[in-house]
């Protein structure tokens, strides 16, 4: 249920660029809801983005992502930086609803004007973030936030998506060489730029650090050697070291800029293709919705006057989408015709 747009897109864009919280918040809502107006707004924000440092925070459920995010807000604030937070929690696959509770751990910043915390529901999307996350990052960037922290859904294995959006991706693990760390091998090890073994007040932290360090031992010279750090987010310990590693990663990113161009191009291609796919899909669905003959055709099919396959081809043909199918069919015929 997209809220009434009581402000014009012009006002929302101007407000966002001026750092106005209400404009930015409403714009994120429109993006999240896929409102057509959001597209126009994003188009106009695009030339104003690219200044923020985007940090992804991912890892298994309960590892301490939100608590660590809280500590990183505090650290960034100490440097006088303004902060945006996007915290993604899972939507229920059954009801589509969600309980978004990450921000409770960041409550001490509830009244800090330089901190904007926004919760997002995954809305059926897998991969730890949502399609709207990138748009929301851009809104926060355009409104002038210096640092944007993105906490993913705690799924533990395939949150590769965040790495495409963040400059630095932090993977949060917990002590114990149990399933979590083993399962991490799957995809998450490649997406992490920096590993944090949180809850280091518990036994086995050093073992887990050693295990992860061993994984990255053979990093070739000149490549980024992923640091593995211990932390106790709950007790605000180890945060300076993480902040320092983020800064070092920024230095590496700048020095390795040419090598990272390929990654940037790949990410851009993924986004462009997904935009184009969305646009095509919407355009075709609109055509289909406007197609008048469907109910009549249904009646004919049910009455046995025509068959559903022929009707499908006919309607697709009318939507000027049938040519390829006919060609496909011809191609199949060629193959199927006995030699």
């Amino acid at each position: 249920m997209t809220p009434r747009i009581d402000a014009s897109i012009d006002a929302l864009v101007a407000g966002t660029l001026a750092g106005d919280l209400r404009s930015a918040s409403r714009l994120i809502r429109l993006i999240d809801d896929g409102a057509p107006a959001a597209w126009q707004a994003q188009k106009r924000l695009f030339s104003h983005i690219g200044k923020a440092l985007v940090i992804g925070i991912t890892g298994p459920p309960g590892a301490g992502k939100s608590t660590l995010t809280d500590c990183l807000i505090a650290r960034a604030r100490r440097d006088g930086k303004s902060v945006g937070v996007l915290a993604v929690d899972p939507s229920s696959p059954i009801s589509g609803g969600a309980i978004l509770g990450d921000r409770i751990r960041m409550n001490r910043f509830a009244l800090d004007d330089a901190v904007f915390i926004r919760s997002l529901a995954s809305r059926g999307h897998f991969g730890g973030i949502t399609p709207a996350t990138r748009g929301a990052i851009r809104v926060m960037d355009a409104m002038g936030k210096d640092v944007i922290l993105v906490e993913t859904v705690g799924v533990g294995q395939d949150e590769v998506d965040i790495a495409r959006l963040a400059h630095t991706t932090i993977v949060v693990a917990v002590p114990g060489l149990g399933d979590d760390v083993q399962a991490m091998k799957a995809g998450i090890l490649e997406v992490g730029d920096l590993f944090v073994v949180n809850k280091a007040d518990r036994p086995d932290a050093d073992e887990t650090v050693g295990y992860l360090q061993n994984v990255f031992r053979r990093t070739p010279a000149g490549e980024w050697r992923r640091p593995v750090l211990k932390a106790q987010a709950l007790h605000h310990k180890g945060i300076d070291e993480i902040w320092q590693a983020i800064a070092e990663h920024a230095v590496y990113r700048h020095s390795a800029a040419p090598a990272l161009k390929a990654r940037q191009r790949a990410n851009c291609e993924i986004e462009l293709r997904s935009f184009l796919r969305q646009g095509l899909q919407q355009a075709l669905l609109r055509k289909l919705d406007a197609e008048p003959g469907i109910l009549e055709a249904v009646a004919d099919i049910v009455a046995g006057k025509s068959d559903i396959y022929a009707v499908t081809d006919e309607i697709l043909g009318k939507l000027r989408f049938g040519e390829e199918r006919e060609e496909e069919a011809r191609a199949e015929n060629v193959v199927l015709r006995p030699g």
Binding site: M1, S25, R26, R29, G97, I104, L111, S119
Partner: protein
């Protein structure tokens, strides 16, 4: 895709979270996105969070008398910020008389002890719809 967004929290020193958690789960099961802020909120943090989260409705769960002081403050603060976000109040301690006075002060809906969850859900849905265009 879109969803109703409801902020649910408890005000003041009231530490009874059970009711808030129950209503949060119920609203989630009804397909809503619940921004759950737990205990120890003030009218200021609720208003600020409602803006940050673009909440359609604010739900306050109360199991102590403190709401008598905080709710009018919350309503005033929303008005002061020119925010037209309806507030729903629920809790076992709310008497008929106080419920009437809360409504008079601008609380959109009040649910005292013995209220039926289904009514709370219906109320939140209709208040959220009031704020939306299609």
């Amino acid at each position: 895709m879109s969803a109703i967004r409801v902020l649910v929290g408890v005000l003041g020193m009231d530490q009874h979270e059970v009711g808030a958690v129950a209503i949060a789960k119920t609203l989630r099961d009804e397909g809503m996105e619940v921004i759950y802020t737990g205990c120890f909120n003030t009218p200021e943090t609720i208003v600020r969070t409602a803006i940050e989260e673009d909440a359609d409705v604010i739900g306050i769960s109360s199991h102590s008398w403190e709401y008598l002081y905080y709710m009018p403050e919350l309503i005033e603060l929303l008005k002061h910020n020119a925010l037209d976000i309806p507030v729903v109040l629920g809790g076992s301690v709310i008497t008929e008389e106080d419920a009437a006075s809360m409504r008079a002060k601008g609380v959109a809906a009040v649910f005292g002890s013995g209220s039926v969850m289904a009514n709370v859900v219906a109320s939140v849905k209709s208040l959220a719809a009031r704020d939306t265009a299609h």
